[in-house]
């Protein structure tokens, strides 16, 4: 391992080693003071952010072409690490309240984040598979962390079965592509395609399989069925973490592989991806209408947002718009992630033991009794529906703009009309909070409030001054070779 190799994965190593040490150190941390574990985990992630920030502007292909360091990966790594810190903020009080406080929780979360970071830097299909398993297995455990609660166990089992099932698809796809191109490295695959030595039938079959596998991971229709059950059953902070980071990781690797290794194919795949995007937006938004459980509602909303993100993927097939499509997807991921975390923080604040406090009725009166929490949730709901003066508006604005420019106006129209549907169910939450009287029970925890109010302030401020973040996203380009 050369110094360049080492440098390219320094943040990943740091997070990983930190997690391992924390696992041991946690043995000496008394049960009453698990907050210390949480704090240490957060510090580890913050150290990861610091090291990632130092990597900005660097670009290298290391480990004999296995690992790519580019600004795209750095940008995403920072998103994952940051979302990890937010997730810890949501978890600390929640675990105590639900009486499932164990130090491994934070360690598992760090493992999963390390897996995501590896995924964003993977430049070889074998590493991709490795990273996916690496990020998924801790999540299977985390989903079942609230055992012996039945829903949590059910969620873990469902997630595990469908996760391995999709991994099977992915692996099979990788095998087929290897058979077709004699390579697993993205560079090798591209060279083989350009050299014309590829067995195209095998190759397309393999790419389609991979598409299905990733489709499960990011929960786009028609592979979305698991998401609501898993999100509902898992401990709420884990659901929030999955809704943001796993989705981001899935989309990142999808972009990397399809744009780098299969550029010619991605143009041919457009009708399929177009269909998936449209279907996901329609299905996610339509099914969300009837939900009365907040966790399920947010689950369907996250499916719908996967559809919007898929639009960027469609636009990226237009070679002139690739850069913009990547930038608008990254921007949307930040907007969606920040907003979603805030919304989950509010859900965590209201959740009571035994899965109570999650119905819409339980939100009645929140706006009156807890105006700050209510206003924060209002901001998140508006942001998710893409209404101005929230960052969600700019996210949709850039996404739709890219889609129009890439020549897919009809898809943008589908997106706009479905987001009208989404306004309805997001507003329902607002209706309950502000327009129905009630006696809500809210858990006051300073970390939780900090995440909720902080996210709300960020959502509004970043919408008034959108340029800086957008510039950052625009600079986070994929290095294609």
């Amino acid at each position: 391992m050369t110094l360049a190799d080492f440098n390219s994965i320094l943040p990943i190593i740091t997070v990983l080693l930190w997690a391992l040490l924390l696992l041991i150190a946690d043995l000496w941390i008394p049960q009453k003071r698990k907050g210390l574990t949480a704090l240490l985990a957060a510090i580890g992630l913050a150290a990861g952010i610091g090291l990632s920030l130092a990597q900005i502007g660097q670009s290298a292909l290391t480990f004999k072409g296995m690992i790519m360091l580019d600004s795209f990966a750095v940008f995403l790594n920072i998103i994952y690490l940051f979302s990890g810190i937010l997730a810890i903020g949501l978890s600390y009080d929640y675990l105590k309240r639900m009486d499932i406080e164990r130090g491994e929780y934070y360690v598992l979360m760090m493992f999963s984040i390390a897996g995501m970071m590896l995924l964003s830097q993977a430049y070889n299909l074998i590493v991709v598979f490795l990273a996916i398993e690496f990020l998924s297995i801790p999540l299977y455990i985390l989903a079942g962390f609230a055992r012996p609660r039945l829903e949590s166990e059910e969620a873990a089992l469902k997630y595990f079965l469908l996760g391995t099932f999709s991994s099977g698809f992915l692996l099979y796809g990788i095998a087929l592509i290897f058979g077709a191109t004699k390579a697993t490295g993205l560079g090798g695959i591209l060279a083989s395609l350009n050299g014309g030595e590829t067995n195209l039938v095998l190759f397309v079959a393999g790419a389609a399989m991979m598409m299905v596998g990733f489709g499960f991971k990011v929960a786009v229709a028609p592979f979305h069925e698991w998401a609501p059950d898993v999100y509902q059953g898992s401990p709420t902070p884990v659901s929030g973490f999955m809704a943001v980071s796993v989705k981001a990781a899935g989309f990142a690797v999808l972009l990397r592989i399809f744009l780098t290794a299969f550029p010619s194919l991605s143009a041919q795949l457009v009708p399929v991806v177009w269909g998936i995007a449209a279907l996901t937006m329609i299905v996610g938004n339509l099914l969300a209408i009837n939900q009365t459980n907040l966790k399920r509602l947010l689950a369907y909303s996250s499916i719908a947002h996967a559809g919007y993100l898929m639009m960027a993927f469609v636009s990226a097939s237009n070679p002139q718009q690739t850069g913009q499509a990547v930038a608008s997807m990254l921007y949307y991921l930040v907007a969606y992630g920040l907003t979603t975390f805030g919304a989950w923080a509010v859900v965590v604040s209201l959740e009571q033991a035994e899965g109570k406090g999650l119905e819409l009725e339980d939100y009645a009166g929140v706006g009156q009794k807890y105006p700050w929490l209510g206003v924060a949730m209002l901001v998140f709901m508006l942001s998710l529906s893409g209404i101005p003066l929230t960052i969600g508006f700019w996210g949709k604005f850039f996404l739709f703009r890219t889609t129009v420019q890439a020549g897919f106006t009809e898809l943008a129209l589908v997106g706009l009309l479905t987001s009208l549907i989404s306004v309805y169910y997001y507003l329902r939450v607002v209706v309950y909070m502000f327009m129905r009287p009630g006696e809500p029970r809210v858990r006051r925890d300073s970390w939780l409030s900090l995440v909720a109010v902080g996210a709300a302030v960020a959502v509004v401020l970043l919408s008034i001054l959108p340029s800086r973040l957008l510039e950052m996203a625009a600079q986070a380009v994929l290095r294609l070779q």
Binding site: R401, F434, S467
Partner: protein, 502 residues
């Protein structure tokens, strides 16, 4: 006189100061909250007069321009671009005038959650003023959508029985239109690389081949807001359920945003499409005039009657705009102001009756002029103004519109004006019937004998409106002086497209 802040920024964002102060007041200090809101909105009105003082009536173009880059990225330039001209100056003044009046009207009507009410009201003022001043399409869209949120809460929290239904319907209807407008904005921005209004007017040839579609996408958003037949169904619900102050602002300002949108964007950006579609728009406007009037005739609830009469009156405005003559468009702009004054006053008086009797059914009243003479007299003036009696403001607007429409070459037929005139007659019928049922005749219901006449505060809310009703009715010239140069500019721009078409 200059405070170091651009006057347009100040007039738009000053209500935020009040919001900040109110945030720090205790929920129980209702009186302090009310006064803060009132004083803030009065200062904003003062600032709007200061803007008027700096406005030069003779110049047709954009004045007091303020243009700062907001977002710059390759191929994308969004400006924080504001300015005022003859089309918007009166709208800004109307907004700044009606807001303190509406706030004053809530003194005893709103007792619950006063803090939230006033915050939303001031935020609404920011949004509305911004809509009239924004000259960048994206900025305009931001303000346009932003107005939805406070109004949604005003209806949904402080409204009547079916308030949630009405609020959601209001939100979804408006949103449906504006999403298509957003798509059109994106298409325009993609084709020209800019969103700034003045640049787009200069470069409108670039998207000329798409302009029918773009006109329809913008037009849908504005037509829902106006509202034009058959997109008006949200309006009666919203009006009936909204609290009085909300209705005043809804009718007085929010509906004007739609008509203003046509003037500001559809006409100058898509002139060919405007000329081609003008007859259809005019037909829809006339259907709205007749339909709104006919439905008003059948109402038993006063507030519903006034709400439907808005559909009818706004029909005149749209007719004037799409007749595309100097007179008709100028009349349309003035009629926007007139409707804000008259209908605002009508809603206020209906609200005062409701506060006293908790009903708006006309059959529950009758003969109350004898009991409340001051209210009766003021109501008579307002009713006459709304139906267009010469010497009062409504006449000036409607007459100018009809005169201009009569000679319109774009519409090409005197029948448009002819049929629309029926609307004036019907308006006289339904308004006088309402007045007769409520104020004239013998007192039938005993409870009405105990009605209190207007308090000083209530008189103060109505007097500014009445002064303007008389002023515009007797001496409208200063108002036309403000409007005309910009309107002539706009109409000549569209007529050049008409000439090119032939």
């Amino acid at each position: 006189m200059n405070f170091g802040i651009h006057p347009l920024l100040l007039v738009t964002f000053f209500p935020f100061v009040g919001v900040l102060v109110i945030l720090f007041l205790n929920t129980q200090q209702k009186q302090a909250i009310r006064w803060t809101a009132l004083v803030t909105s009065l200062i904003t009105f003062g600032i709007s007069l200061w803007v008027l003082a700096q406005f030069q009536p003779g110049t047709p173009g954009i004045q007091l321009e303020l243009r700062q880059p907001w977002l710059r990225l390759d191929g994308l330039s969004i400006d924080f671009y504001m300015g005022v001209d003859g089309l918007s100056i009166l709208m800004v003044l109307l907004t700044a005038l009606l807001t303190p009046i509406a706030i004053l009207s809530t003194w005893s009507a709103v007792e619950e959650r006063v803090k939230g009410f006033m915050i939303f009201f001031l935020l609404l003022e920011v949004g509305m003023t911004g809509v009239f001043l924004a000259l960048d399409l994206v900025l305009f869209y931001v303000f346009w959508e932003f107005t939805l949120i406070p109004m949604y809460f005003l209806i949904g929290i402080w409204g009547g029985e079916r308030r949630i239904y009405a609020a959601v319907k209001f939100f979804l209807f408006t949103m449906a239109g504006s999403l298509l407008m957003l798509l059109a904005i994106l298409v325009i921005g993609f084709q020209t690389g800019t969103f700034a209004w003045s640049d787009l007017v200069a470069q409108r040839e670039v998207f000329a081949n798409l302009q029918i579609w773009l006109f329809l996408a913008f037009g849908l958003a504005f037509a829902i807001k106006v509202p034009m037949f058959p997109l008006h169904t949200w309006l009666p619900d919203a009006h009936v359920e909204a609290p009085t102050a909300g209705s005043v602002i809804l009718a007085g300002v929010l509906l004007k945003m739609g008509a203003y949108g046509f003037l500001r964007f559809n006409l100058p950006l898509f002139p060919d499409a405007t000329v081609r579609l003008a007859p259809y728009m005019a037909i829809l406007a006339i259907i709205g005039i007749i339909y709104g009037a006919a439905v008003s005739l059948a109402q038993k609830d006063m507030k519903k009657l006034v709400a439907y009469s808005s559909v009818s009156h706004l029909g005149f405005v749209v007719l004037g705009i799409f007749a595309l003559t100097n007179q008709s468009v100028a009349g349309g702009v003035l009629q926007m102001v007139n409707h804000g004054l008259s209908t605002g006053a009508l809603f206020l008086i209906v609200g005062m009756l409701y506060e006293r009797r908790h009903t708006r059914e006309m059959s529950a009243f009758g003969g109350v002029w004898k009991v409340v003479p001051v209210m009766g007299a003021l109501m008579l003036v307002v009713t006459l103004s709304s139906m267009g009696l010469p010497g009062l403001n409504g006449f000036v607007g409607e007459f100018t519109i009809l005169l201009g429409t009569f000679g319109s070459t774009v519409l090409g037929s005197p029948w448009f004006a002819g049929v629309a005139t029926l609307g004036v007659i019907l308006a006289a019928v339904y308004l006088l019937v309402m007045f007769e049922k409520v104020f004239l005749g013998p007192v039938k219901v005993e409870a009405n004998l105990l009605l209190k006449d207007l308090s000083l505060r209530e008189i103060v809310t109505l007097v500014p409106l009445l002064i303007l009703i008389f002023w515009i009715g007797l001496y409208p010239q200063p108002f036309f002086n403000l409007i005309n140069p910009s309107v002539e500019n706009l109409v000549s721009l569209v007529s050049s497209a008409l000439l090119a078409a032939h």
